[in-house]
Symmetry: C2
């Protein structure tokens, strides 16, 4: 096990009707907030009205900024920064999924910074940020308790991430009922994202990470059991609750403690959804199995453990590679079963910009991605090729 720090101060308020506490939770931080959201779904569902009522009940003023789209854009972030400055807003309330939260985090670091907020997505350290609060509507990105934000810069379609404990939300409200109305495809994409967050941590060459291995396996098994239940009955509170809580547990830091993590699949997928604007989770469902097929020989034992403990594959001790491949197949089958693509074509991508993506992913071939196996430009290209078959 490696030395590590673990720090996750976000207060989680979980369960039915909890969005009505948003005013109460906000008022100790600010009385003037930016209310940030995506499209019209929160208005149709009545969530917008309940949030606004709760804010008004506590005498909190707000300025609105809707319009966040999947793969959230830098231009809207800059608009949000300007709105906060012009109106003296010092709290960003995100009502939505990961894209809205990531956009809110970017606004929160941009407001107190005199330079270009994109600097933080090129490695600049955050020194100050407005507090961010969250009402979550999509379990997927784990941004509700993570220190990360991923933003797409339309100027070149670069999708880049940043991380700082200063952008961990001060509170996150998680009401599983709000996820009843998610389309099946979005539920499935969210599930793939959550599972990917676990697997990015699980696939490591660090030895002696017994507890975190088992916690990862526990969380994956919970997803495998509950996602099909939620798809079968979208109003299944318990299945929705398990998925929503697993989404937070997957990405608040605990599952990666003491181990080198991978994150190549996320890096590769960012290039796909940066260019094609596909759903991040769908992109991950395509990239992850391809990545697995390309790297599993680096550490077959770990893939055998994955197959055995997560998918209950009967281990073939004589031929461990066979068991490893069976585990990868199980994952692929699961993604298909919940309605996700597992090839580039199924994702709707028919042109060939793989060379370009491999290059951007590795900063023109000058760097590598991932840790389980360090992937150069050529490796990324090969993985995209596998995903294309």
């Amino acid at each position: 096990m490696e030395n590590f720090e673990f720090y996750s101060p976000t207060r989680i308020v979980f369960g039915k009707d909890t969005e009505n506490q948003v005013g109460l939770l906000t008022k100790s931080y600010s009385k003037k907030v930016l209310l940030h959201y995506g499209g019209s779904s929160i208005k149709k569902s009545g969530l917008y009205d309940r949030v606004v009522k709760s804010l008004r009940d506590e005498g909190i003023e707000f300025v609105e900024l809707g319009g966040v789209v999947p793969n959230p854009r830098l231009s809207l972030v800059k608009e949000g920064i300007k709105l906060c400055r012009d109106n003296g807003l010092n709290f960003v309330l995100a009502v939505g999924g990961g894209s809205v939260i990531d956009s809110a985090k970017a606004i929160a670091i941009g407001v107190p910074y005199e330079g270009d907020v994109w600097d933080f997505f090129n490695g600049r350290q955050v020194e100050k940020a407005l507090p961010v609060g969250v009402v979550l509507t999509i379990p997927a990105a784990g941004s509700e308790a993570s220190p990360n934000s991923v933003i797409t810069n339309e100027d070149g379609w670069y999708k880049r991430g940043m991380g700082s404990d200063l952008v961990r939300p001060v509170y996150s409200i998680l009401n599983p009922v709000l996820t009843y109305t998610l389309p099946d495809y979005q539920t499935a994409c969210g599930a793939a994202d959550i599972m990917a967050h676990i697997m990015e941590r699980y696939f490591t060459n660090t030895k002696n990470v017994d507890l975190t291995d088992r916690l990862c396996e526990a969380t994956l098994k919970t997803m495998i059991r509950n996602v099909p239940l939620a798809l079968e009955n979208p109003n299944d509170y318990n299945a929705r609750a398990e998925i929503m809580w697993a989404g937070k547990v997957a990405h608040f830091g605990l599952l990666g403690t003491g181990r080198v993590q991978d994150w190549a699949s996320h890096d590769i997928e960012h290039e796909i959804s940066g260019i094609y604007d596909v759903a991040h989770g769908a992109g991950l469902a395509v990239v992850f199995p391809a990545w697995m097929k390309y790297v599993y020989k680096e550490n077959v034992e770990r893939f055998v453990q994955f197959a055995s403990r997560v998918w209950n594959v009967d281990v073939c001790f004589e031929d461990q590679e066979k068991t490893a491949l069976e585990g990868i197949k199980k994952l692929e089958d699961f993604f298909r079963r919940i309605g996700l693509p597992v090839t580039m074509k199924e994702l709707g991508i028919t042109d060939d910009r793989m060379e370009e993506m491999a290059s951007k992913c590795t900063r023109g071939g000058t760097s590598t991605v991932g840790n389980f196996k360090k992937l150069a430009k050529n490796d990324v290209y090969n993985i995209l090729r596998i995903a294309n078959t």
Copy 2:
């Protein structure tokens, strides 16, 4: 799943040599601290010198208060409160195990309170507390990230707990190397305490708590695997690290989210160690199996799940009670294997004050303990009887 809040802001700094960061971690909170510890072991091991050096390197002044004993005493807490007030100390640094941390927390809430600090152990809500920092030397109580403190009042030998988010340590330093020198019995007692923290949460009648069930099982399995390894080779870094991290994970709140928890065994054990001054973990090893035998029929399925998933017992579907009992037997066998008592006699208790303990535990028979089955005075008495056979 029930509605819940989850909040755990303690920063964990985990790994080799991390105690040398104590000065750096403390200085943003205070430059005048109470250095609180137990006996001479931290001086013998050199830990005391390293902590003092790190504090001095950052220009932090301190006043010392050693002498914390297992089942920490109210009188020393009061001494600590006076020391802080007389010397203007506004941070309590606990270097030790759960008893030292609990004592530090009690001092932290007592300093800003004009009344008797014991009030908080009789239900008074905490409104203010000094920040507490921790260098942990014994994985057991989980106090390093919990909101709880348990103190023994020598006037009547009452052992009582309090809880408040305000006493969660601001940081906790966990270096597994510091646990190499623990005597085997103390390692085992700590393990029983950690496992009990998980089981108090695991045994619930709340339905649909899939993720937390699995996280509990993962943490229990980690303990079952690693405690014997640590006993076999006290300097096994990896086994010590797993136990130390499991001790924190067991008790920082996550494993109990969304479910009604039990805690009867802890309440009953507090009466035993309050009177007889035995190690808390040893007391739990005696009480928990007895409690299980008394209550398992309330919800046999849960005990079957425990037997199957935690202990790999082959489920006898025709006779589920048999499987449940086999799981309880496995736990008892494990406690014995790691050198713990599982009866009152083995704990060294030969006189009969069970009536008195059952009465104190239920406040003279006026209240119940536990939730899996609500236990009246008579039930507690029966459990103590089972523990006595």
